[in-house]
């Protein structure tokens, strides 16, 4: 029997970090307590965001008395959050009415909010998986934006350049192009890290900006630009390259959602059932011991970053081939960063990522409705997301606020820190 705390100084850090990461991997953590913390974190985030909504409304500040102020404040918040809810899931009375209308198209439109949620969630699954895969291997892939753009540009290019092939060939081809070019965008920072130690947080973020400007560049060339237009918009993707959707029912949900679930299963299998996944997890947890045991750490870093980039590239392909059917600047709309929040909320686990993606997809879909109905700016959703993550990451804080019993808690995965210099 030995004294754990008396070993080398680094041990304290290891012990503390282990506590935090315990629930990510330990089989015994209580699912219910984790769910409870997430729910409470969500509620707290909504409350804090409500404060921002209320405080920034001049009508509240300038109200003649407290009662009117509270009234206006309540309307602000309930309107905003109500809009979020109906935009994400649908308004119950409207839904029932539509379902019992007897007309197929009208009944289908009852599912419009849900369809929008799924449409928004699908690319988030891809970017969430991309970031989660990176985390497992000890890498911070903040380059989701750039990889999404790269993948979307490539998928779109194949989509509008290749003609005459059937959907069975052209669609997978376009998706593959998106995957491969996204992979390239992840490969570069991976290689730099493995060869020079350059920290991927910085290199991936820089490549994000490079990708943004590349989009503008390409969309101004004749190769990409739609004939007859002077604004930066690409040619339209061939119908054979489009992801099949329920457009006939006026719903935007498309096969990309199914692909997302399939890919999530594949990532799960990769991480827990293959030698490659074993290497990712070993290197992510302890690169030194992995190296001493013969695992090629540099190779793992490059492969992990590349795969991660490929997954994010699929998100871009998803958007171009399933929703937009052409490329415009800014189509990535924060997907890369939202992928980070999705991965964190999903605790680096493919199942969790799908669940978190649905949640944030719902928020995104709802935000559009919220802005339309109450003119509350959509950016508040980003605030809510960030707050949720912060509260989830510090369960002790939530426990303190709600006076919960101290349970073996959950936390954001503690990935190897430092700049690797």
């Amino acid at each position: 029997m030995s004294e754990k705390p008396d070993q080398k100084p680094g041990r304290n850090r290891a012990a503390a970090a282990r506590d935090v990461i315990q629930s990510v991997i330990a089989p015994q953590s209580s699912i219910w307590s984790s769910v409870l913390v997430v729910v409470l974190a969500f509620v707290t985030a909504l409350v804090v965001s409500a404060v921002f909504i209320v405080v920034s409304d001049p009508n509240v500040i300038q109200a003649p008395d407290l009662l009117t102020a509270l009234n206006v404040a309540w309307q602000d918040v309930s309107g905003a959050y109500g809009g979020l809810l109906t935009g994400a899931l649908g308004d119950p009375s409207t839904v029932i009415a539509k379902l019992s209308s007897g007309d197929a198209k009208v009944a289908a439109s009852a599912f419009y909010p849900l369809s929008e949620t799924v449409v928004a969630a699908a690319p988030l699954v891809f970017t969430g998986l991309a970031v989660a895969l990176g985390f497992r291997a000890g890498l911070f892939n903040i380059g989701g934006e750039g990889q999404v753009i790269a993948g979307g540009l490539a998928a779109g290019f194949v989509g509008f350049s290749v003609h005459g092939l059937t959907g069975f060939v052209e669609l997978p081809l376009a998706l593959l192009a998106g995957f491969l070019v996204g992979m390239l965008w992840g490969f570069i920072p991976g290689l730099l890290k493995a060869r020079t130690g350059a920290h991927e947080v910085i290199t991936t973020i820089m490549l994000n900006y490079v990708a943004i400007y590349l989009t503008y560049y390409f969309l101004n060339t004749t190769l990409f630009q739609r004939p007859g237009r002077t604004d930066p918009i690409s040619k339209v993707v061939d119908s054979a390259a489009m992801l099949p959707s329920l457009a006939a029912l006026n719903l935007r949900v498309h096969a990309g959602a199914l692909l997302a679930v399939a890919v999530a299963v594949a990532v799960y299998f990769l991480l827990w059932r293959t030698t490659l996944g074993f290497e990712f997890r070993a290197v992510g947890a302890n690169p030194d011991a992995s190296r001493a045991a013969g695992i090629g750490v540099g190779r793992v870093i490059v492969v992990a970053m590349s795969l991660s980039g490929g997954l994010a590239g699929l998100a871009g392909a998803n958007i171009i081939l399933g929703v937009q059917y052409s490329v415009t600047p800014g189509f990535s709309s924060g997907l890369g960063f939202d992928g980070i929040t999705v991965a964190l909320l999903g605790r680096g686990n493919p199942v969790g990522v799908v669940a978190a993606a649905l949640l944030f997809g719902g928020l995104r879909a709802g935000a559009v409705q919220m802005q339309a109905a109450t003119s509350t700016p959509v950016d508040i959703v980003q605030v809510i997301e960030a707050l949720v993550i912060m509260f989830v990451a510090a369960p002790a804080l939530i426990r303190a606020i709600f006076r919960l019993r101290a349970v073996r808690g959950i936390g954001a995965p503690t990935v190897s820190p430092g700049w690797g210099g």
Binding site: P9, V20, I202, M206, D379, A393, G418
Partner: protein
């Protein structure tokens, strides 16, 4: 075989390889200069480097006129000469200084070529470089204050953004720039408090907290911009820009005057802070303790230093400086806030801090490189350079990647950087 000769072996081979590669790089640069900037240029093309600034108080001096072709070949020859020496003998410790020189010569040749048959304001570009480097350096100082104490601050981008926003808001509403700057600093500090609490008390991974705070600030500033600044543009988003400060006498020196002594306030702030931080960090008791906490918190603890308190203070100081840096973008430059106006500069600051070896002067030097890339893009768009403006816009970001990839591994972060400290 003697020990000395045998001991040369592979280790020395690696060193020779590196030396030769660097030398070959110099030779390639020479070739590039000759090929791109000298070869196709008509003999009588001249580039005018304007050394005066219309708005400055400096004594005017004539333009520097260089024949483009001759200059290009001359500089190419110089680089080839340096390259040959490097391949054969190597410059030893001065190799990196020579590398900087070669890159400088390349840039000068490029400028001469870009400005052929027209003129470019060299002084303007250098002055712009310093101005653009100011927020980056201040951001690097912020990162450095935190990391020297062992806490990674990736939230600089968010702190800058919220600093920019609140500086514009308060500066506009009160009409007082100083209040605006203070507001910017305060908001940066508040975000830093959140970072400190999550990192130090709740032991959450510091990079993750930083990124999440960046997203939070992005969302919050965007939201408040739409809610408050768009409808009330005139009162809440029209701040007066802080006027430049002219130092009497010194500002009359040609070339140096406009660059150093007739400048944006933030440039002076940068120099003042640079001196302060250098002295404080390396020559005072406070600095010794901070660095001890960042290198070996357990040792500092056993010496009786309060590790958590030190880290809290430093992170908050870092937030104040980042907020100051952010206020540059509004009160120091354009007077108005726009969504996401920092555009990754917080991350470039981090790269500058790393490349600068976690020192104030180093951070300044690295920021100059990035600032120059930034200024270049601005000035070249005026000239007729056959490079798409979008590639020029990418320049600072590509430069960052190159510098980080080339320098990291040679620079050493504080030993306990990013590692939470737990007492029992």
């Amino acid at each position: 075989m003697s020990t000395a000769v045998r001991a040369l072996g592979a280790g020395a081979r690696v060193a020779v390889d590196r030396r030769r590669t660097l030398g070959i790089f110099f030779l390639l640069v020479a070739g590039a200069i000759a090929a791109f900037f000298g070869y196709n240029v008509p003999g009588q093309s001249q580039a005018h480097f304007v050394l005066n600034l219309a708005s400055s108080h400096a004594i005017p001096i004539p333009d520097l006129v260089v024949p483009v072709r001759a200059t290009a070949f001359g500089l190419a020859a110089a680089c080839a000469f340096l390259g040959t020496i490097q391949v054969v003998r190597g410059f030893g410790r001065w190799a990196y200084a020579v590398l900087a020189l070669v890159i400088g010569l390349f840039v000068f040749a490029f400028l001469a070529w870009a400005a052929r048959n027209s003129s470019v304001s060299l002084v303007g570009m250098l002055q712009g470089t310093l101005v653009r480097a100011a927020p980056l350096t201040l951001g690097a100082f912020s990162g450095l204050l935190c990391e020297r104490a062992g806490v990674i601050n990736v939230a600089i981008e968010g702190q800058m953004l919220i600093g920019a926003f609140s500086a514009a808001l308060v500066g506009s509403a009160t009409g007082n720039a100083l209040l605006g700057i203070l507001a910017g600093m305060l908001c940066g500090g508040l975000i830093a408090v959140i970072l400190a609490v999550f990192a130090i008390r709740y032991l959450v991974d510091q990079v993750i907290v930083g990124i999440v705070l960046d997203l939070f600030c992005l969302g919050l500033t965007g939201f408040l911009y739409d809610r408050l600044m768009v409808p009330f543009q005139a009162t809440l988003n029209s701040a007066a820009v802080v006027p430049p400060v002219t130092i009497p006498g010194l500002s009359r020196i040609p070339v140096l005057g406009p660059i150093l002594f007739d400048q944006n306030v933030y440039v002076y702030l940068m120099f003042v802070l640079m001196g302060l931080i250098y002295v404080a960090l390396f020559h005072t008791r406070w600095g010794l303790r901070v660095r001890a906490v960042g290198e070996h918190p357990r040792a500092a603890d056993t010496a009786g230093i309060d590790v958590a308190r030190t880290r809290y203070i430093n992170v908050i100081l870092g937030g104040l400086v980042a907020g100051l840096a952010g206020s540059y973008f509004t009160l120091g430059a354009v007077g108005q806030f726009t969504k996401n106006m920092t555009s990754g500069r917080g991350f470039i600051s981090l790269a500058a801090m790393i490349s600068g070896g976690w020192t104030p002067v180093g951070g300044f030097g690295a920021s100059l490189v990035f600032g120059f890339a930034d200024a270049l893009q601005n000035f070249l768009s005026v000239l007729n350079v056959p490079i798409s403006s979008y590639f020029l816009l990418m320049a600072p970001y590509l430069a960052t990647i190159l510098v980080v990839a080339g320098v990291v591994g040679r620079a050493r972060p504080p030993a306990a950087d990013g590692k939470p400290y737990v007492k029992q």
